[in-house]
């Protein structure tokens, strides 16, 4: 059984009299431990697909099943709990919290977990060491380079050992050298067993993944 099953997912946005079909019946199966790249031009629906996959955007029709759980049938705040326990997000602009240090940013997903502070610190330190930032724990985001900020964002995404790591254009704001380093890091995480789903329009990034899914006009092509 696949780790993620995306079944006939459609998503429509309505603005006044206009209706935009961002996703038009997407079917994808992703196995545990896979590194998937979803590629497509701007407006192809890849970011919408990632937000639907991340449990943050209800599909108009269709179903997402993740580790045997039908995501959008979860009641109330259970969906938020599911995100906290099973998903890790890496955003294009890193979106680190500017007033928290690197280690505090990484500990953020653990702020809502019942765990003592030393254990949280240990987990965050290990995550930062994994991404090669063990020596910059107490730096604020503005004291880090773009590549280092991206690494902190990745550490934040993996600190709670999620089943799936979702990344939205993770190299969008990085130069080509740093992009290569970040992609190598994703590859390394995947080699260690982490399932990764990455949205990108950069074809070079696709080379690091196991499989590339192309989207065009809201459909898999």
């Amino acid at each position: 059984m696949a780790l993620i099953e995306i079944k006939n997912v459609k998503k429509q946005y309505t603005s006044g009299d206009d209706t935009v079909e961002a996703l038009r019946g997407v079917d994808i199966l992703i196995e545990a431990g896979e590194f998937i790249t979803i590629m497509g031009q701007s407006g192809s629906g890849k970011s919408t697909l990632l937000s639907v996959l991340g449990g943050m955007n209800h599909p108009t029709t269709g179903e997402i099943e993740m580790a045997g759980v039908k995501l959008y049938q979860l009641p109330g705040e259970k969906l938020a709990d599911f995100r906290a326990q099973n998903l890790g997000f890496v955003f294009q602009s890193f979106h680190l919290i500017s007033y928290l240090t690197a280690i505090e940013n990484v500990m953020l997903p653990l702020a809502i977990v019942k765990m003592d502070t030393p254990a949280k610190k240990t987990a965050a330190r290990q995550a930062l060491q994994r991404v090669g930032l063990g020596g910059k724990l107490d730096r604020l985001p503005n004291q880090l380079s773009g590549g280092e900020q991206e690494r902190v964002a990745i550490a934040r995404a993996i600190v709670n050992n999620p089943h799936i790591l979702l990344a939205d254009e993770p190299t969008g704001n990085l130069d080509s050298k740093t992009s290569g380093e970040v992609m190598a890091l994703f590859r390394e995480l995947n080699d260690a067993g982490q399932t990764v789903v990455m949205v990108t329009h950069n074809t070079e990034n696709g080379a690091y993944s196991d499989r590339t899914i192309n989207l065009k006009d809201g459909m898999v092509v």
Binding site: M56, A80, D81, R83, F91, H95, Y99, E104, R156, D168
Partner: protein, 386 residues
Amino acid sequence: MKLHTISINNLKRRKAKMAFLTIGLMVGIATIVTLVTLTRSMSSDIERKMDEFGANILITPQSNGLAMNYGGISLGGVTFDQREIREEDLAKIKTISNSKNISAIAPKVLGGIKVGSRDVLLVGVNFDSELKMKQWWQIFGDVPKSDNEVLLGSDASKVLNAGPDDSIKINDETFTVAGVLDQTGSQDDALVFANLSKAQKLLGKEGKITLAEVAALCSGCPISDMVTQIAEKIPDAKVSAIQQVVEGRLKALDQFKRFSYAMAGVVVFIGSLIVFVTMMGSVNERTTEIGVFRAIGFRKSHIMRIILLEAALVSLLAGFLGYAVGMGGAKLALPFMAESKNAQLIWDSTVAFGSIGLALTLGLLASLYPALHASKMDPTEALRAL
């Protein structure tokens, strides 16, 4: 890392905004503290002055008499069926349910006597309670300490041609003038004051009194209730309240109080509005941040806790500062507002805890909608902004 770490660090980062928020709320709280403390201190000052002013309950014998005087000119009167008040009955006054409001009871016995060839009015008093009630009395000489000493009113002193240490004869008995009252402008100027028991003997009214004045002056005293309670205890007496002066002053103070509360209400409303607008602005500024929190699995309640905790911390600080600044303001303003120069500032823990509690309540209420708004933010919107 706990949720409060996020709140505290955010407050540290947005120092200017949080200072503005704190000041906005602090001004409101300080205004309330100043006004409440001022009105309380002024009330206390007036109460003290009223205690000095004298009696406000008068106990006289029950009679079917009609007074015949107007504008201080007495034409006598028709009195019949007059009853006496027994001195022992006065002890019953202290058994009324509002006895704690009674500060002094001053019994008096009155009667005409001859000093030499002059007819004068002798008043037997208990000097301790009389002096407590008539704190404006200025005495040249001493207060009578023994039965054969008297105190003369200023006019009586002139007419009888007697001053301190002089002797006068009352009913063939010699008395020493212990002291003379300074001019009071009242009926006291024409009287001769002696010890109550001695005067009762001289007038042949042992164990009886003509009237008693009761000082129970304080703004919170239920004077009319006390009048009823005393009348029940001494049915043979006529108990009446002297309320005009008291009521006039209290009415003025009450108007000031109402004005103060209205003003405080407006200031608090503006303070709350500042908190609301600032918190709302802060929430809108943090759309992306809140979106990230939601994306990584924070529940709506977690977001609310972060925002409300920030509001609570700022409000507590505003409450503490507001109390301190408010008390400072009251201290500065009291000399200009109070009637007497030695008015005392009232330090009350209720006002301290109340101001902190009020700041906390207002801060949390004004932040409730921004917190709800933040918690309901769609994480997709935040993602879309990325």
